[in-house]
C-alpha cells in the first residue's frame, strides 16, 4: 500500500468520527446551505430572468422583429425553419375602414397564423368590454377592429365593414396587441385581419405606404445566433428590432432588475465564502495535532494534506449534491409561495444553475478552504512535544489572492459583467480590510473595559479579548454577512422606491393624439367635464433629421452603430415647449429661456446624444414638411422614459415650428363615467386617436412586480443563508466553550453566570459586527445605487439601529442554540472525556 493510499484511507476511516465530532458536519452544513442558496437563487434568477426576457419579447410579439418598407424575403423564414425558430408575418398600413356612410382612418394590421409569437392579443365581445386572451388570429373573411373604430363607424360585433375593397365580418373587438408599442409611433385606431384577405383589399398598390414585419422567436441561444445572422444578411433598408432598441421603458426595467438579481446572487456567493472560510479555519485548527503526529510517524507533507483533502472532497461532493437538490426544491417552495403573483408561466428550470452550484462549491473550497488546508502540511512535527507550536501563518498572498480570485470568477459567472465583477471584488476587499481594522480597535476597546465590569460581563469581555484573532475574524465574517444583508435591504428599499416613483399610481392612463390645434380647448373642456385631468399637452409634428454639422445623416458613422443610425435616420416626432417636465433633467447646457423663443435651438435627449455622438453647439438640420430648419443644440436632457408621460427625443423652443402643420397630444388621468363617453368623444373629435394606457401600464407594472417579487424571494433566501453562516460561526467555537463552561462550573460558577457570560460575549460580537456592517452597507449601497443601478441613494438611519440590534439578537439566538448543549453538559463528562 502506498503512503498516499494510506493517507486517503485514513481520511475515509476518520470521516464518521469527524462527522460526529461536529467539524465536518459544520463544514457540510455550511457548504450545503451555501450551495443550496446559490443554486436556489440561481434557479430562480435564471427562470425569472428568462421569463422577463420573454415578457420583454412580448412587446415585440417576438424575440426578433425585422421590419422593412418592402416585402420581406421568405429566405429568412427558410433560415429560421432551419434553426427551429417559430416565425410569423405582419404588415401595417393606414387605410380607411368604412361602414355605410361612416369612415375611419385606421391602422390596419395584417397578420398570419402564429401571430403573436410572444405575448397575447386581447379581445372582447363588445366595444370597451372586458378583455380576454384571443385564440389564434382572425379567420379569413373576418376582422377584429378596436373599440375606437367601431365607435367611429357605429358598428357592432357581427356587422360587416369594408377594409379597402374587401368586406370583412367583425367577429371580435380588439382590445390590445402586445406590439402596439409603448412609444407614440403606432397611434391610430387599429384593426386586425388575416393576411389571406390582403389581396382582396386591393390596398397594396405601387407607392402604398406599408410597413412589413417578419417575426421570429424560439430558444434564446438560437434566437441570439439568428439575430447575428440577420444582422449580416439583412438588406440595408431592413431594421432588426430587439428589446433594447424598440422599447426603452421595458428594456430599462429589465436591465435594472437583472442587475439587481445578479447582485443579490453575489451576496449569496459572499455568504458561501464566509461560511466556508470560517469552518475550514476551524477544521485546520482541530487537525494540527493529527498532522503533527502523522509527520512524526513518517507521513510526508503531501500525505498529511491528502488525509484532509479526502475528507474535504467527500464532504464537498455530498454537500454539493444535496445542496443542489435542496436548491432545486427550495426554488419550487419559493415559487409555490409567489407563484400566484407571477402572471406568466415561468420557463422550466435549466441545468445551468446545477453546474454553477458544482463550480461554485469547487471554487469556494479552492479559494477559501484550500489555503488554510495547506497550513496543515506545514505544521512542525515538533508540535507533538510542544503544543504551542503551530504552522507558520498564512501569507497575505495565499490568504487573499485565491479567495479574491474565486470570488471574481464566481462574480463573473453570476453577473456576466466584468465591470460589476471588478467593482464587487474591490469593494469586498476594501470592506474586509476596513472591517478588520475597525474590529481590532473595537476588541481592544472592549478588553480595556473588562476591569470595570461585573463577573458575567468580565467573562464575556475576557472571552472576546483573549481570542482576539478569532473574535476579529468572527466579527469581520459576521460583519460581512450582515452588511450583505443590510446592503440588500437598503438597495431593495431604494430600488422599490425608485420604481414606485417612476411608475406612480397617478400615472396618466389615457393618451390622446391628433388633437387639431383649433379643437384643443374644446377637447380639454369636454374631458374636464367628465372628470379627466390633463397632465401634459404638447404639440407633435413629424420631421426627419437630415444633416449633422452639415454632414448628411446617411453618410455619418455613429458611436452606437445600429441604434444611432435608427435614432438619427428615422422620421421623428418633434415638439416644442416653453416648459421642461419634471421627468426631464438638463445634463448640459440650459433650458430655453423666454428670450430664446423662436430661436433655432434644440434640446436633445441624452439617449440620442450618446447613440449619435453629439455635443453642445452641434448643428442639426431637419426636414419638416418639406421645409429645412437648421438648429443648434442648446441643451441635453436626461429623460425618465418610464414616467409614462409623453416625452420626445427632440424638443424645440416655442415660436419656431408653430407654422408647420401639426397636431397636439395629451396625457390624462381619466376614468370615464361610462364606456359610452369615450364613444361620444370619438364622435365629437373624429380625428383624435384615444389610447387607454391601462393595458400598457399593466404590462410595465407586471414586469416591475415580478422583479420586486424576485428580489424579495432572493432576499429571503439570502437572509436564510446569512442566519446559517451565523450558526456556523458560533458552532466552530463550541468545543472551547464546552471546556470553559466545565472549568468554570467546577470552580463553583453558577450555570446562570456561565450562560450570561457567553451570551454577553455573543451580544458584543453581534452588536459590534452589526454596527460595522451598517456602516459598510451604507457606504456600499451608496456606490451600488449611484454607480451600478443608477438610482438615487436614500440613506436609512434605521439600518444602524436594525444592524446593531439585529446582529446582537441573531448572534445571541444562534449562539444559544449552538452552545446550549455544550454549556449545559455536566462538567465531569467534559473534563473526563474532552
Amino acid at each position: 500500500m502506498s503512503s498516499r493510499r494510506a493517507a486517503v484511507l485514513l481520511g475515509l476511516r476518520s470521516l464518521g468520527r469527524e462527522w460526529r465530532s461536529g467539524d465536518l458536519a459544520v463544514l457540510f452544513i455550511a457548504l450545503f446551505v451555501a450551495v443550496a442558496a446559490l443554486t436556489g437563487v440561481g434557479f430562480l434568477v435564471d427562470r425569472i430572468d428568462r421569463a422577463m426576457q420573454l415578457q420583454a419579447s412580448e412587446v415585440l410579439a417576438a424575440d426578433l422583429r425585422l421590419t422593412s418598407p418592402d416585402q420581406i424575403s421568405t429566405t429568412y423564414e427558410t433560415e429560421a425553419d432551419r434553426r427551429n425558430l417559430l416565425h410569423a408575418r405582419a404588415a401595417q398600413l393606414i387605410s380607411v375602414v368604412l361602414k355605410d356612410e361612416a369612415t375611419q382612418l385606421t391602422n390596419v394590421h395584417v397578420v398570419t397564423a402564429g401571430y403573436p409569437l410572444r405575448g397575447t392579443v386581447r379581445v372582447s365581445d363588445r366595444p370597451f368590454g372586458a378583455p380576454q386572451a384571443a385564440q389564434g388570429v382572425p379567420a379569413p373573411g373576418e376582422c377584429w377592429p378596436d373599440s375606437r373604430v367601431l365607435a367611429a363607424l357605429g358598428a357592432q360585433v357581427g356587422d360587416v365593414v369594408n377594409v379597402g375593397a374587401a368586406p370583412l365580418r367583425v367577429t371580435r373587438v380588439l382590445i390590445s396587441r402586445p406590439d402596439q408599442g409603448s412609444g407614440f409611433v403606432d397611434l391610430a385606431p387599429s384593426l386586425l385581419m388575416n393576411e389571406a384577405d390582403l389581396p382582396a383589399t386591393q390596398l397594396i398598390q405601387p407607392g402604398s405606404r406599408v410597413r412589413y414585419a417578419a417575426l421570429f422567436a424560439g430558444d434564446r441561444r438560437a434566437a441570439d445566433s439568428f439575430s447575428l445572422w440577420l444582422q449580416k444578411n439583412k438588406k440595408p433598408a431592413e431594421r432588426l428590432g430587439d428589446i433594447a432598441t424598440i422599447s426603452p421603458e421595458v428594456g430599462s426595467a429589465t436591465r435594472r432588475a437583472g442587475r439587481f438579481l445578479a447582485i443579490a446572487s453575489l451576496v449569496s456567493v459572499l455568504l458561501c465564502a464566509v461560511a466556508i472560510a470560517m469552518t475550514a479555519r476551524r477544521y485546520v485548527q482541530r487537525h494540527l495535532d493529527l498532522a503533527a503526529l502523522l509527520k512524526t510517524i513518517g507521513a510526508s507533507r503531501a500525505d498529511v494534506l491528502w488525509v484532509c483533502l479526502t475528507q474535504l472532497i467527500c464532504i464537498a461532493i455530498t454537500a454539493t449534491l444535496f445542496g443542489s437538490l435542496a436548491g432545486f426544491g427550495a426554488q419550487f417552495a419559493l415559487l409555490a409561495v409567489v407563484g400566484d403573483l407571477i402572471a406568466t408561466e415561468l420557463p422550466p428550470p435549466g441545468f445551468m444553475p446545477v453546474l454553477l452550484g458544482f463550480a461554485a462549491a469547487l471554487l469556494l473550497l479552492v479559494g477559501f478552504a484550500l489555503p488554510s488546508m495547506l497550513r496543515l502540511a506545514r505544521v512542525p512535527a515538533m508540535r507533538v512535544l510542544r503544543r504551542d507550536m503551530g504552522p507558520p501563518p498564512l501569507g497575505a498572498v495565499l490568504a487573499f489572492v485565491p479567495a479574491l480570485l474565486a470570488v471574481a470568477l464566481l462574480v463573473m459567472q453570476v453577473s456576466g459583467d466584468m465591470r460589476m465583477a471588478l467593482g464587487f471584488v474591490a469593494g469586498l476587499g476594501a470592506a474586509a480590510l476596513s472591517l478588520m481594522a475597525v474590529a481590532l480597535l473595537l476588541v481592544a476597546g472592549v478588553a480595556r473595559l473588562r476591569g470595570r465590569l461585573g463577573v458575567a460581563w468580565r467573562y464575556g469581555a475576557a472571552n472576546l479579548a483573549r481570542r482576539r484573532a478569532e473574535s476579529v475574524v468572527q466579527i469581520v465574517s459576521l460583519g460581512l454577512g450582515l452588511s450583505a444583508l443590510l446592503l440588500l435591504t437598503i438597495l431593495r428599499g431604494n430600488l422599490v422606491d425608485d420604481w414606485r416613483a417612476r411608475v406612480p399610481q397617478n400615472a396618466p392612463n389615457y393618451f390622446f393624439v391628433n388633437i387639431p390645434t383649433q379643437d384643443r380647448e374644446d377637447f380639454r373642456g369636454m374631458l374636464s367635464a367628465d372628470g379627466g385631468t390633463l397632465s401634459r399637452m404638447l404639440p407633435m409634428i413629424r420631421g426627419r433629421m437630415t444633416q449633422i454639422n452639415g454632414e448628411p445623416v446617411a453618410a455619418r458613422r455613429f458611436v452606437d452603430g445600429r441604434r444611432g443610425e435608427g435614432l438619427a435616420g428615422r422620421e421623428q416626432n418633434l415638439t416644442w415647449s416653453a416648459e421642461i417636465g419634471p421627468d426631464n433633467r438638463i445634463t448640459e447646457g440650459h433650458w430655453f429661456t423666454a428670450e430664446e423663443a423662436g430661436q433655432p435651438l434644440v434640446s436633445v435627449a441624452t439617449d440620442m446624444q450618446e447613440s449619435i455622438g453629439l455635443k453642445l453647439g452641434d448643428k442639426l438640420t431637419f426636414d419638416i414638411a418639406g421645409e429645412t430648419f437648421e438648429t443648434t443644440i442648446s441643451s441635453f436632457r436626461e429623460v425618465q422614459w418610464d414616467s409614462l408621460q409623453p416625452n420626445f427625443f427632440l424638443m424645440f423652443p416655442p415660436g419656431l415650428l408653430e407654422g408647420a402643420a401639426g397636431t397636439w397630444m395629451a396625457s390624462a388621468q381619466y376614468r370615464p363615467t361610462d364606456p359610452g363617453t369615450i364613444a361620444s368623444l370619438v364622435r365629437r373629435f373624429p380625428s383624435v386617436s384615444i389610447f387607454d394606457m391601462d393595458d400598457l401600464l399593466g404590462q410595465v407594472r407586471s414586469i416591475i412586480d415580478k422583479a420586486v417579487l424576485a428580489v424579495q424571494g432572493v432576499f429571503i433566501f439570502t437572509l436564510l443563508a446569512g442566519i446559517v453562516v451565523l450558526l456556523a460561526a458560533v458552532q466552530v467555537t463550541r468545543d472551547e466553550r464546552r471546556y470553559e463552561s466545565a472549568m468554570l462550573r467546577t470552580l463553583g460558577a453558577q450555570r446562570r453566570t456561565v450562560v450570561a457570560g457567553v451570551m454577553l460575549e455573543f451580544l458584543l460580537i453581534g452588536s459590534l459586527a452589526g454596527i460595522m456592517a451598517s456602516a459598510a452597507a451604507s457606504i456600499g449601497s451608496y456606490f451600488v445605487s449611484t454607480r451600478l443601478l443608477e438610482i438615487p441613494f436614500r440613506p436609512d438611519p434605521l439600518i444602524w439601529i436594525g444592524g446593531a440590534l439585529g446582529g446582537a439578537l441573531l448572534v445571541c439566538i444562534a449562539g444559544y442554540i449552538a452552545t446550549r448543549s455544550a454549556l449545559l453538559q455536566p462538567p465531569m463528562s467534559t473534563l473526563r472525556y474532552g
Binding site: M1, S3, R5, R17, I297, G298, A299, P380, R386
Partner: protein
C-alpha cells in the same frame, strides 16, 4: 563488546527568538548512543531535554551542529526525507499518548506501517497488540481505553515497525504509579526483545535508573 553507534550528535545548538531577544535553549550538546542502549535524558523543566529529543528524532533542526541517525545525516535532509527516515527507523511514545481518536487500537497500530506501504500491516499490528496484552481490545477506540491501555497501544504503534531508535517523552507522566511501572516494564521488555535503542526524557527517577546511561541537562547543556 563495542556497540555500533546508532545515534550521534555533534555540537548541537538551538536558538529561538523571543520578545526579550535571542534565547539559546540547547548549547553545544554532543553525544553518541549505541544500538540497543537505553539512555535517560533528565533535568529540570526548561533544561532543553525535549528540544534535544526532538532534534535527535528529526522533528526539529538545530541552529547549528550535526546529527546522524542509523548512519544517515538527519541535518542534511529536508522535512519529507526526515519523515521517511522516521517511518522506517524511529518509534515514538508520548506523555499524552497521541493516538488518532477516529481510529481503533488496531488501526492506530497499523498506521505507521501503512504509511510505509507494508502489506502485512494488519497481521503485524494484531500480533503486537497481543504482545502488549490488548488482543481483546483491538477494536476499541482510544476514548474507550484507560490511560494505561492507551499508552500500551502507543507503545505497540511505536514498536511495530521494529525501529532502530525508540524515543519516549515522559512515557509515564500521565499514569499512576502502578500503571506507570507496568508500562515501564513493557518498554524495557520491548527494547530488549527488538534490540531497539531507547532514548527517553523523564522526571521519573525510577524509570531513569533502569536505563543503561543517564544524561543530565541543565540550562541547555549536558552536564553529565
Amino acid at each position: 563488546m563495542e556497540r555500533k553507534i546508532v545515534l550521534e550528535a555533534k555540537e548541537l545548538t538551538r536558538k529561538v527568538s523571543s520578545p526579550e531577544g535571542e534565547l539559546t535553549i540547547v548549547d553545544g550538546v554532543s553525544l553518541a548512543i549505541g544500538a540497543g542502549e537505553s539512555v535517560a535524558l533528565v533535568g529540570a523543566s526548561g533544561a532543553g531535554k525535549s528540544t534535544v529529543l526532538a532534534m535527535l528524532a528529526g522533528l526539529d533542526l538545530p541552529t547549528s551542529g550535526r546529527i546522524w541517525l542509523d548512519g544517515r545525516e538527519l541535518t542534511g535532509m529536508d522535512e519529507d526525507a526526515r519523515a521517511r527516515l522516521r517511518a522506517d527507523r524511529v518509534g515514538f511514545v508520548f506523555q499524552a499518548f497521541h493516538l488518532v481518536p477516529s481510529l481503533t487500537a488496531l488501526e492506530n497500530v497499523m498506521l505507521p506501517m501503512e504509511l510505509t506501504g507494508r502489506s502485512d500491516a494488519r497481521q503485524a499490528a494484531h500480533e503486537i497488540l497481543q504482545r502488549v496484552g490488548l488482543g481483546a481490545r483491538e477494536g476499541h477506540y482510544p476514548r474507550q481505553l484507560s490511560g494505561g491501555e492507551q499508552q500500551r497501544v502507543a507503545l505497540a504503534r511505536a514498536s511495530v515497525t521494529r525501529p532502530a531508535v525508540l524515543f519516549a517523552d515522559e512515557p509515564t507522566g500521565n499514569l499512576d504509579t502502578a500503571t506507570g511501572a507496568s508500562i515501564c516494564q513493557l518498554l524495557f521488555d520491548l527494547n530488549r526483545e527488538f534490540n531497539t535503542t531507547l532514548v527517553l526524557v523523564t522526571h521519573d527517577t525510577t524509570l531513569a535508573a533502569r536505563c543503561d546511561r543517564i544524561l543530565t541537562m541543565a540550562a541547555g547543556r549536558l552536564v553529565t
